[in-house]
Amino acid sequence: MTDKNAVEVVDLVKRFGTFHAVDTISFTIRQGEIFGLLGANGAGKTTTIRMLCGLLKPTGGKATVAGHDVYREVPKIKKSIGYMSQKFSLYEDLTVKENIEFYGGVYGLEKGQIEEKSTALIRELGLENRSNTLTSSLPIGWKQRLALSTALLHDPEIIFLDEPTGGVDPISRRSFWKLIYDIADAGKTVCVTTHYMDEAEYCNRVCIMYQGRIVELGSPSQLKEKHNLPTMQDIFIQTVDR
């Protein structure tokens, strides 16, 4: 972890009509950090991430991602980030190998590079026997890890994961988080949203969002100390309940 900032957000706002989905939030994510965006459904997590990825124009405020402005430098941002959307992001009717090849190609990797990466990736994920089966036939946990790996093909500095473990069994969630640690260890910045509070404990720092606003921000241990509560779960319930 360094003290350079991968993401800087100042007074960011997103309005849909008169509804404030994201209401004047500010935070920073340091390079190499695992940053958690927590909150119940509808808190504004996805909207925040989509603005940072250049998928949605903010209504107001400022934000930079990898030093690039979210209003004016979207193409540069796209080159520096990986993104896994809340919805499943692979083609179920393509094989494992074809999915990797496709995303590699779309990210502009060369043919040799794609070949090399896909072999390595398939080996890492233990999918050697399944590289030519349709992605739809993979168990969900494996699909998620494959999706994450394809989002990393172009070696991005920062990676945004929107509820990557939704609907996944606890064992698969653990191995998914192991992968996230590997990514952080490799020096990449991870911004992950979740509403599983046990996962919050795995993050270096978290912010809790409630109705479009940030209501808590800090490391899990700081927050527990501040509220004098034993788990993130308790903190979440308290902050959201008051």
Binding site: M84, S89, G105
Partner: protein, 374 residues
């Protein structure tokens, strides 16, 4: 450009892996050709006709004889009571009623505009038009024969009178509708394939979430659009060729004109349909919505193209509206090339109209698509 290659490759893999798509692309057209080629017939035969002769002269009887002997008509009655004609029509017992008023022969002799009254069951406007066409042709022939018998007329005048024929039947002398329907089918099927597949293809990716995934990659929107339309344009062309082969094998109807020209014109035409597909994808969130919009546009497109209903049979206002329909031009072009073998030089107005519409629709769709991306 490399990105476009991968997008196209992906699309083809998906299409050829899906049994439904194979069905839509290759089985459905075969069925459409078989069914429409046989069922949508504009041949109108066995028309039941009631005849009424109030003149009862040799000339009126001769005209009635000719009508009654026509292979298209079955005379059910020769009536002597005019009011009965409408009864036949009301009870749908006759498709057509013809009345020769008193004084017909006298008017013919005096050359003071002799009249024959025809009443046609207009419920089916198409058949009605054709039935009237038959009557007109018979009357025309009758006219011509009378004029020939007349000594005083100059030759030029005769010639002019005689050549006047219903142009609708020129290139389909036996009134075999299939010949006329088949080029239309190419246009319809090509429209369906390109509009539906493009629209649905993009919206499907919206639904499953991969479109969003693609949008965070560095690919440009024009690459994304090319990646979507190239596969469906290619499939469209394959489709045209398949239909032409089917039609030749099944009905023995070949292309009279140049096939490259036909493909060139098709290429211009699908600019509009691909654009429409993209446009539909920008106004739909789900595949159901896309399907609805696609049908919405296509119903108008097809009904106002002259495929089912000849444009000449439409009310004048509607006829003007058909000028805004690119399918109308494409249908003319296809029929010209298919049946008459017309060269490009004869098809320039329609071609330019299609280019104009194609560029306009496509540009608008792409602009809208790009605006919606971010």
């Amino acid at each position: 450009m490399q990105q476009v290659f991968y997008l196209v490759q992906k699309e083809f893999r998906q299409v050829f892996r899906s049994k439904i798509m194979i069905g839509i692309l290759f089985v459905a057209p075969l069925i459409q050709i078989l069914v429409l080629g046989n069922a949508v017939t504009t041949d109108v035969t066995n028309l039941k006709v009631v005849l009424f002769d109030n003149d009862r002269t040799p000339m009126s009887r001769e005209l009635l004889r000719r009508l009654a002997n026509s292979e298209y008509f079955i005379p059910i009655e020769v009536e002597d009571d005019y009011t009965k004609l409408s009864q036949y029509m009301d009870r749908f017992e006759a498709n057509l009623a013809l009345a020769i008023p008193g004084g017909f022969q006298r008017d013919v002799v005096r050359k003071s505009a002799p009249k024959v009254q025809a009443m046609v069951d207009g419920l089916d406007g198409n058949s009605a038009g054709i039935a009237l066409g038959y009557v007109a042709a018979i009357v025309q022939k009758y006219n011509a024969d009378i004029i020939m018998m007349e000594p005083g007329l100059r030759n030029e005048a005769r010639a002019v009178r005689q050549v006047k024929l219903e142009p609708r039947f020129w290139f389909n002398p036996n009134l075999e509708s299939r010949v006329y329907i088949v080029p239309g089918l190419i246009a319809i099927i090509l429209t369906i394939i390109t509009v539906f597949l493009t629209g649905m293809g993009i919206v499907r990716e919206k639904e499953i979430g991969t479109l969003e995934q693609l949008m965070v990659t560095p690919i440009r929107s024009w690459q994304l659009i090319l990646g979507k339309i190239i596969p469906f344009a290619v499939l469209g062309f394959i489709e045209i060729i398949i239909i032409m082969v089917f039609v030749y094998i099944l009905f023995g109807i070949g292309v009279a004109g140049s096939i490259p020209l036909l493909l060139f014109e098709s290429g211009i035409f699908i600019l509009t349909t691909l654009g429409l597909g993209i446009f539909i994808s920008t106004i739909s969130e789900t595949q159901q919505q896309a399907l609805f919009f696609a049908w919405f546009f296509m119903i108008f497109g097809i009904l106002l193209s002259g495929f089912f209903i000849p444009i000449a049979n439409m009310p004048e206002v509607i006829q003007w509206i058909t000028y805004l329909n690119p399918l109308r031009y494409f249908l003319v072009i296809l029929r010209e090339i298919y049946l008459k073998g017309s060269p490009l030089a004869y098809l320039l107005p329609e071609t330019f109209a299609m280019i104009a519409f194609g560029l306009a629709v496509f540009t608008l769709a792409v602009v809208r698509f790009r605006q919606r991306l971010v």
